[in-house]
Symmetry: C2
């Protein structure tokens, strides 16, 4: 198919409804992440693509296959159904369109899925254009309690800094991430592989109902569509594309979370990984990403804020550990302290020799160290206290 | 002090004994890691430096201070004592001299310690020139059982690949590293802050006795010298300099292990860190080193072998996790499997639509998937098995 250099521009407001109807139609006949189909829609727009399917389907087998499926869809019924379910279909040109997902255009597919979405189905009051500074937190469904507590903590720390959290509402890390965000006032968004009206996994009905009421549930799949493995792969790229950075907490070598991370890396998003015990298999994929410099190691929300470039707003000191009591000492006192034996007592003369100093200044320094609790005197001279050994 | 461009060259065998005696004398009057003193000795050699101290100590205060201490030392007695204790003093020009420690020349001191050693005291049969491909494993004295088991495992994995292990015989990670190495036939070396004849900590008498009998105990400090804080700082630089790479397992933000790592980084040694749970304070320093790309994350002896460039001898596959059962499937079967719904059953027609394939090939693929255990048939069509969900 020859793509003309006349590329699609977001429609004028007057044509927005016509473009939306065209894209919704295309959404019903294309699978999420059908990258060849989506690339054409992105290049020429919904109206032009639908016209091509109608007018000249023989031009390309992609159009021909689409034309065959066009007869099966009922656009009006889907629109009524979406209204009833409280879903909206957001497209380029809408104020709330999250333009960052168009970064998906021009990238090779992973597992045959890729491309920018034609539009996004949304349930809930949250506007998608507020997700430009969001962070995705993803990871294993078979997570450990360590991983879940880490994911929830980081989500809460980011939430307190008003960073929206994007995840997939799955078991394990996803659930913990949403839960951590919900412990703050920050928005949190679930991107699903099934229709945004559906509940998967069903055990997370309460979470998804709450998100659909107070935040947002998002999907590329039309209402009613069931979760399928291929749709999870398509969904993962959207999580990566919507957010400014992706944090992976516990992920085996091959997993959905790693596919999200691979998309995030391709899209030049910030890729971050939380380490864990090396004895736990779920951290192995994360460690590999860090080792290969695909992901940067993070251990806190502050680390994440710094990496996504919110460090100006959230000034962050390099962690230095608890203040070292030795900082209280003068230079001379430190010199002398370093010359006091570790395992036994020593006289002033012997300490002076090791320190390379005269006896008088060493005696003065030892008095200072005594006052500050670093040394003690005994019958055979001076020895270190526990404080000095820390 | 004007250093002439006539630099010290390792002595001819005929002069080796004279140079050894000179260096041993200098060793008795200088503190380990006294970098200004050591730099001069490195530049002009032991014989020339000792002559300068004798002949013209007023030339420089460094020589003057040395001359004052010269009167206090008894070289012959130290040599007899060393003989009796089974210690030897190894210097440049000896076959077993580990030339890599001379990389310390020309680097700024850390905490006023630095410089290449004048010589090294050694107890035990191991030759120091076998440590060129050794790995140092260091870390916290206040280690967790996780850290200790990791250190011992990595040391044993390296030991099985005949890599010598260098450490400091301290409590915690050091002890675990020696212990792991001793579980193999590989050599392991303790570098001490006190004289190589002394036992510190005293609880490690058995370990140090064994190393001194079968492997080697090394120190820059003369026999009989006690462990002092400043000597630990000096010792850490030797651990880094002797080995080809340093692995740090559990270390707080400021600690002796971090000072070893800083020396390793300066000396262009390979710096490696083992991650741990972020909730444990002892891993915080290691995580910071990895995050700042000072250390590369490692989780196994194989990782270490690859990084120190023994990958040619120890060929290493990128870890891929356990074999994925999906690898057994044909391309077509995978396509169809991806189109089977996750949460419910579906008929062949519906699966064919999602897969974008005809009904006949889908039916054939489903039969294959059934045989391989990925799908099952029920009254309403086909659904995924647990195997397919992994």
């Amino acid at each position: 198919m020859n793509v003309q250099p006349v590329l699609f521009q977001a429609p004028e407001p007057a044509n927005l409804d016509q473009e939306r109807r065209a894209r919704l139609t295309l959404n019903l006949i294309a699978e999420p992440g059908d990258w060849a189909f989506l690339a054409v829609a992105h290049e020429i727009g919904g109206i032009a693509m639908l016209r091509a399917i109608h007018d000249d389907p023989r031009k390309h087998e992609l159009l021909e296959a689409a034309a065959a499926r066009l007869a099966e869809v009922d656009v009006d019924r889907t629109m009524e159904e979406a209204d009833r379910l409280g879903l909206r279909f957001v497209i380029p040109g809408d104020d709330e369109w999250p333009g960052q997902v168009e970064d998906l255009y021009g990238h090779e597919p992973i597992s045959e899925r890729g491309g920018p979405p034609i539009g996004l189905w949304v349930k809930g009051p949250l506007r998608l254009d507020t997700l430009g500074e969001s962070v995705a937190i993803v990871g294993s469904r078979s997570s450990t309690s360590y991983g879940e507590s880490v994911a929830a903590d980081i989500a809460a720390q980011l939430g307190h800094a008003d960073v929206p959290i994007v995840s997939g509402a799955a078991y394990g890390i996803d659930y913990a991430a949403h839960r951590g965000a919900l412990s703050t006032r920050a928005p949190t968004v679930a991107v699903l592989a099934c229709g945004a009206d559906r509940v998967y996994p069903t055990a997370h009905r309460q979470l998804l109902d709450h998100l659909g009421r107070e935040h947002a549930v998002v999907s590329e799949a039309p209402p009613g569509h069931s979760p399928q493995r291929i749709r999870f792969l398509a969904r993962n790229r959207l999580i990566a594309a919507l957010s400014k950075g992706t944090v992976v907490v516990e992920a085996a070598y091959r997993s959905g979370a790693i596919s999200t991370v691979n998309w995030a890396a391709r899209l030049n998003r910030v890729v971050m990984g939380v380490p864990g015990p090396i004895s736990v298999a779920t951290s192995a994929g994360v460690h590999q990403l860090i080792r290969n410099h695909v992901a940067t190691l993070v251990t806190s929300g502050d680390d994440v804020l710094e990496l996504i470039g919110k460090a100006g707003e959230h000034v962050r000191d390099e962690p230095r550990g608890p203040d070292n009591p030795r900082d209280l000492l003068t230079f001379r006192e430190r010199q002398v302290l370093d010359a006091v034996p570790v395992a036994q007592s020593a006289g002033v003369d012997s300490i002076a020799v090791v320190a390379g100093l005269g006896v008088a200044p060493v005696r003065r320094a030892l008095e200072g160290l005594l006052q500050k609790g670093f040394v003690e005197r005994d019958h055979s001279g001076w020895h270190l206290t526990d404080l000095a050994m820390t």
